[in-house]
Subunit: 153 residues, 2 copies
């Protein structure tokens, strides 16, 4: 018999409606950039070599675009819809650089819900102050509460 | 006077042709998943709670989809085109789960080059054995060698 993990689940499809939003906000630090490089293997000097980065159009080191984008996954996986959802797809446009010390607000908003296919469309933005640094769309599959196994009393 | 960092640069637009490929391969470990969660804040129990994950359609813990996707950024930033390129956009479809201990091969291939706009289109896949786990497209801006400042002798 398996453990009842229903309390650990996030929102079900029935809980969701168009226009719902959630955010994850985070100040990107040098430590985060180093950790992300460790996990991903992306040691591009634009993130780590100030001399190289000064010679680039960014005029200094920047964070990995995929680190900023990963905050969208954080919102989906921990807040809206939260645990139990399945990440199907994501589009990303990297529209401005992010530097260590800057605070990113990753925001997702429900744009459409296909109740038949249990698919939820999200509009996603990451901003630093007023500047959009990442934008895109995501599709997430969200289970129906009605489809869950009844839990034994 | 700024340091000459030209040796640290990757490929220039003139070096690229349609059909060129590069890969980054990596065995995803529990440590990588923990590091990625630290950097991203994504502590979804599907990655960390075996009881919760057993109750999911994946029947066990899986790696973050964005961790696997980040290996594409690693190829771009370190190999092809390499340092000096600018990541403009990425699409991602998460087509199968990846588990700790599995080896991901992230592969990018040049699909088209717009020499006027200096934009290069890539087709991207991440595979575990024969299974495609992530697929998508990317657009990267690549500087022209001819546009670089001459370096003083």
């Amino acid at each position: 018999m398996s453990t009842d993990t229903s309390e650990r689940h996030g929102h079900y499809l029935e809980d969701l409606s168009v226009g719902m939003t959630a955010v994850y906000s985070r100040t990107i630090t040098e430590a985060d950039i180093a950790m992300f490089a460790g996990a991903s293997g992306d040691t591009n000097p634009i993130h780590f070599d100030e001399e190289f980065a000064q010679s680039s159009p960014f005029k200094g080191r920047i964070a990995h675009g995929m680190l900023t984008a990963s905050f969208l996954s954080t919102v989906f996986g921990t807040k809206l819809p939260g645990p139990g959802c399945i990440y199907l797809s994501q589009t990303l446009k990297f529209t401005a650089p992010v530097r260590a010390g800057e605070t990113v607000v990753a925001r997702v908003e429900i744009d459409a819900i296909d109740t038949e296919k249990k698919r939820v469309q999200f509009v996603c933005t990451c901003t630093v102050g007023e500047t959009v640094v990442v934008k895109g769309d995501a599709t997430i599959m969200v289970p129906r509460k009605a489809d869950q196994r009844p839990v034994a009393a």
